[in-house]
């Protein structure tokens, strides 16, 4: 039998778990704000459609939140079980950041979630608004702390090494380390884009089933418009993020661009099969000099290639491809959201082919977000904390077969949950369309709920 490498298994397990986790926060972070928006629109206009949209999306939010919480609890054990070297070396820095996330974010969102979901008829309206706000706020604070930690792992600052252990010297520099502002902005926007495509896509699905009530159209327009506004911003901040990475982790950019040799006037590689044996790109399709122009703003600017980082660079093919998937998805999202805005504006309605395209695009945010994270995380290799700790040195001594068992359990459960999640989403969308809606003007949310259930 083939010898299994425990380090490899541990990495696969960690990657599996965090990939599964990020899917749900990337929806909930922004969906919380979308819900608050629906609620505020209702408060301002007293138009019942906003409340109907609110209740439908609250149910989906609750489902995503539950998936996020359970996979998040798994995450909080992963550092200890899989990477003991991580906490032993940089625990003095990672510890407080994680602790602050738990204390300031997790309890806040978990507690007020209960009030937001089940307290509608038990608390005054202002308190329900406040609870909705605090849940959205809590998820965003969560993202703040965890991204501070991840960015510190990418571009560490504000610490000194004593006897092989990192000690904090300046907390401001630790939190606001060089890549943090970019990563936070890009991630929050990614969440906005992910949630708005989900809202738009699922509404388009209902539209296709001739479920075109005002509430569905309101959610559809909100989703499409938000996506159309955020996507260009996302592409713009992505570009800034890349420039920042060039400054601090040039080897990552070399891998992203598939640039094996340092060059003046480096081409932009559209397609290629990076070959690590020959250290060349096979079947490359390139646009001359464009990469240099984008990254250095000069046609003949110098870009460092992989050869400049002997034994200190990430695997090229994975980073190269993940990057192309993210950017490609981003461009596709731009095309789809802008055409949808165009039709909604000119024709006041969707057209069928576009609606059909929007349904699978409901999950395009997931594709772009996960591939973006693969660029970031694989691009950091061989380091776990750049320049401080190598991934290989943080490994636990849990034997491979044991990790194999836990990994296969996780994979099975995730496969089941993912299937259940997606089928349930569409089932809920269909069911919401079948409910008879009596025309009524409710005095309270209570009446709205009864009309809905």
């Amino acid at each position: 039998m083939m010898e299994l490498d425990p380090a490899l298994l541990a990495r696969i397990q960690f990657a599996t778990n965090i990939t599964f986790h990020i899917l749900f926060p990337s929806i909930t972070i922004a969906l919380g704000w979308v819900l608050l928006f629906f609620k505020m629109r209702f408060n301002a206009t007293k138009n019942e459609k906003w409340m109907e949209a609110y209740f439908f999306w609250t149910k989906i939010f609750a489902l995503c939140f539950a998936m996020g919480v359970v996979s998040g609890i798994t995450m909080s054990f992963q550092f200890g079980t899989n990477w003991p070297g991580f906490m032993e070396t940089v625990g003095n820095i990672a510890g407080p950041l994680l602790a602050y996330e738990i204390l300031t974010a997790f309890f806040l969102e978990a507690t007020f979630l209960g009030i937001m979901l089940f307290g509608f008829s038990r608390v005054p309206a202002w308190m329900h608004n406040a609870a909705t706000f605090l849940v959205a706020f809590g998820t965003t604070v969560s993202a703040f702390w965890i991204l501070a930690l991840n960015s510190w792992m990418q571009t560490p600052a504000g610490f000194e090494m004593r006897d092989g252990v990192a000690h904090a010297t300046d907390w401001f520099q630790i939190v606001f380390n060089p890549s943090f502002p970019y990563r936070l902005t890009h991630m929050l926007l990614a969440s906005g884009v992910t949630a708005s495509f989900l809202v738009a896509g699922l509404s388009a699905y209902r539209w296709l089933r001739h479920d075109r009530t005002p509430a569905v159209m309101a959610a559809l327009k909100t989703g499409v418009l938000t996506a159309a506004i955020l996507i260009p911003l996302q592409i713009f901040t992505g570009d800034l993020h890349g420039l920042n990475t060039l400054q601090h982790q040039p080897q990552k950019v070399a891998a992203m661009e598939g640039l094996w040799e340092t060059k003046n006037g480096a081409p932009l590689v559209l397609f290629a099969l990076p070959n690590k044996e020959t250290r060349q790109n096979d079947l490359a399709i390139e646009i001359p000099k464009l990469a240099s122009l984008i990254l250095t703003h000069e046609w003949d600017g110098e870009l460092k290639g992989i050869n400049a980082f002997e034994n200190n660079h990430p695997p090229v093919a994975q980073v190269f491809w993940a990057f192309r998937v993210m950017v490609g998805t981003g461009l596709l999202m731009l095309a789809v959201s802008w055409s949808a805005v165009f039709f909604l504006w000119k024709r006041k309605d969707l057209v069928k082919p576009l609606a059909y395209a929007m349904v699978p695009m409901a999950f395009s945010g997931w594709v772009a977000t996960v591939s973006g994270w693969y660029v970031t995380e694989i691009g950091r290799q061989p380091w776990l904390v750049t320049g401080v700790l190598k991934t290989a040195d943080a490994i636990s001594d849990t034997p491979a077969p044991i990790i194999g068992i836990s990994l296969s359990m996780y994979l099975t459960v995730y496969a089941v949950l993912m299937t259940a999640f997606i089928t349930t989403l569409f089932y809920m969308a269909r069911k919401a369309g079948q409910v008879k809606k009596d025309p009524l003007t409710p005095a309270s949310g209570q009446a709205v709920v009864e009309a809905l259930d």
Binding site: F55, T58, K59, A62, L63, A66, M67, V69, V70, G72, I73, T74, S76, F77, F79, G80, T81, P84, M87, G91, N92, I93, G95, P96, L98, A99, Y100, I102, L103, T104, F106, F107, L108, A110, T111, F112, L113, G114, I115, L117, F118, G119, F120, S121, R122, H167, A168, W171, T398, I402, S406, M409, Y410, V413, A420, T424, Y427, M428, G445, V449
Partner: protein, 335 residues
């Protein structure tokens, strides 16, 4: 006492904080895991009602586990890696259990009606797996991670005991939060699980000193034995009082429906106290002391300051949530 002069107070306060969150976790998630296990014995309508009683709380309850494990991780990284690598599989199994029940909670109401039963069963199974896995870990911890067959059998037994304890507190929660036929059932469940819990306490109390000589000396030397005596005595009194009370419930006007829940919390606190006393000053039994395992003081200080500011706020909005949802449970709806 030179605790303050030599800086040991910082790790010790973290150990206390961590212990406290584990205790709060055992009480809070204890009742909702217990409700999950008891669901197996309820009718479909009762199931909805039972879920309704824990709906607004379970998420925040589980967050105490994240805090407890998180404090172990951030304040005692060395202990965290010893404990978690020894408990690698039970932890993974517990996480799977938590995952299944957390999502089943939502899916059972949202998935196709035909699938509801399957999700109810998942909810039950997930709760049971979680409870047994946690008890197993407690057993393994008491034995200092001995890997013999006998140790595994012992840990499994503790797993069953912890499940019984959770059923007890879950049943008492239901006595408080429900009425009518379901409340009657819950009283019956409480009486059965009280026996299981008693057995559990006896088992752990007898075996712990037998396993560890250090604990044996700590318990049975003078004057400790006198000072410690109140713990088992008060526990026994509470158990008997609870049994007597359960026979008389429900009272007219539902008076005293909350007393079993509160007494059970008392039992949990006392047991926890006994355990904590036995293991102190070790964080990994007989291997690693609390003070040897701690992170750098600067980092602990930062966390402590944050915790002191945040904890009061956190506790007050937790109270707010319990106040909002006080009284008998209704079926869950998003209204």
């Amino acid at each position: 006492m030179d605790i303050f002069s030599n800086g040991d107070w910082l790790p010790l306060s973290f150990a206390a904080l961590m212990g406290l969150s584990m205790l709060i976790y055992a009480v809070l998630d204890g009742y909702d895991l217990g409700v999950g296990i008891l669901m197996k014995r309820a009718t479909n309508d009762e199931k909805d009602r039972m879920i309704g009683s824990i709906g607004p709380f379970w998420d925040a309850n589980e967050t105490w586990l994240v805090l407890g494990a998180g404090l172990l991780l951030v304040a005692f990284p060395k202990a965290h890696s010893i404990i978690l690598s020894n408990l690698y599989l039970p932890v993974a199994i517990m996480l799977i259990g938590l995952m299944l029940r957390g999502v089943a909670f939502d899916f059972r109401a949202k998935a196709k009606t035909g699938h509801k039963n399957a999700w109810n069963n998942t909810f039950f199974a997930g709760s049971l797996i979680t409870a047994v896995a946690q008890g197993y870990m407690l057993g393994a911890y008491i034995l200092g991670f001995d890997k013999s067959i006998a140790a595994i059998a012992f840990s499994l037994m503790v797993g069953g005991c912890v499940a019984a304890g959770y059923c007890l507190i879950g049943a008492c929660w239901l006595i408080m939060k429900t009425e009518g036929a379901l409340q009657h059932k819950a009283i019956g469940w409480a009486r059965v699980s009280l026996w299981g819990t008693m057995l559990a306490i006896a088992l752990i109390s007898i075996s712990t000193p037998l396993v560890s000589e250090r604990i044996f000396d700590k318990w049975f030397s003078f004057p400790n034995i006198v000072l410690l005596a109140p713990i088992p005595l008060v526990t026994a009194t509470l158990v008997i009082a609870l049994e007597v009370l359960l026979r008389q419930l429900p009272k007219p006007d539902d008076r005293w429906c909350w007393v079993p829940f509160v007494s059970t919390i008392g039992i949990f606190v006392l047991c926890f106290h006994g355990l904590a006393y036995s293991f102190y000053p070790y964080i990994v039994p007989d291997q690693l002391k609390i003070t040897e395992a701690a992170s750098a003081p600067e980092s602990l200080m930062i966390i402590l300051m944050g915790a002191l500011v945040v904890l009061p706020v956190l506790i007050s909005y937790t109270f707010l949530a319990y106040k909002i949802f006080h009284g008998k449970a209704k079926d869950l709806s998003y209204d």
